[in-house]
Amino acid sequence: METQYRQKPQKQGNWLIVFAVIALAVLPLIFVKGEYGGADGEAEEAIGEIQPDYEPWFEAVFEPPSGEIESLLFVSQAAIGAGVIGYAIGFYRGRTERKPSGKE
């Protein structure tokens, strides 16, 4: 019962959370000048500075042929995950709302 009672303030809290996450991502873009890229280059450079003669001894089995393909794979990863999360939350929500005791 209390869960029902708490839902409204909780929803507002959720919007605040979403806003805060977006702000955390956007503010650096506005205020901090940087490359905003460069895959794993930085750590590679740092290793190069510490041990200039280190040679990576193994190559990636499969490299995305281009940046486009790479972004496709990243998007697929996010989309698959988001789909599962959406399904699960929707399933639980539908089940909760069908319960006769669940609604006031």
């Binding site: 650096p28 930085e42 190559e59 996010a78």
Partner: protein, 251 residues
Amino acid sequence: MKLNPRILQLVAMAALSLYLVVGVAPPAQAMHIMEGFLPVGWAVFWWIVSLPFFILGLRSLARIARENPELKLLLALAGAFSFVLSALKIPSVTGSCSHPTGTGLGAVLFGPSVMTVLGSLVLIFQAVLLAHGGLTTLGANVFSMAIVGPWVAYGVYRLFANSDKQKLAVFLAAALGGLVTYIVTSIQLALAFPAASGGFVAAFVKFAGIFALTQIPLAISEGLLTVLVWNWLQSYATDELQTLKVLKTGA
């Protein structure tokens, strides 16, 4: 209880402002350890360290699926959450991008062992298909992201086990788990590549400057997003949370 989310926002905002004021480090990209970038000895060592945890995780996962089949969907959700967050490269205050780990949610719900398996799956996916991380460095990356991170998250959450500050507990668990993941990565790299002058410590400071610093705002985001999903679960998946005993009876 009701005020908690708002307090979290305020803390997040205050923290962010602080970082922006404190100044800007050189651009960096916090990520997993790249393929081939650990000497053979270390690569093998981390594989050996991680394997027992992975096997324990598999057993734990099988037990949950067998004893509480109704929790399978929640398991899928925990895995999917890590999947999504790992795919999001978010800009950070260091002027570069990194991604959260998303292992905190599953660790809080199911315990750290289960997340070792789910986190490893994410890492394998990225290593094989995205040339992100690697198979030789998989042991080391599993250790940081799928073992230490979840254990820290779980430990932090347990500290609050009997308090009514559940949301704060979930936030801190996820945020610290994510941050510690990258601190461990820095330690692993510093162990493998100690600096000529200053040795391990100097190298650690260098790598932590790259990895941990970038991760701080992302750890906050990770904590907030985990609380978001936690809120949904509290509203709609009460039965499952009861089964897992993470939701206090009557709370």
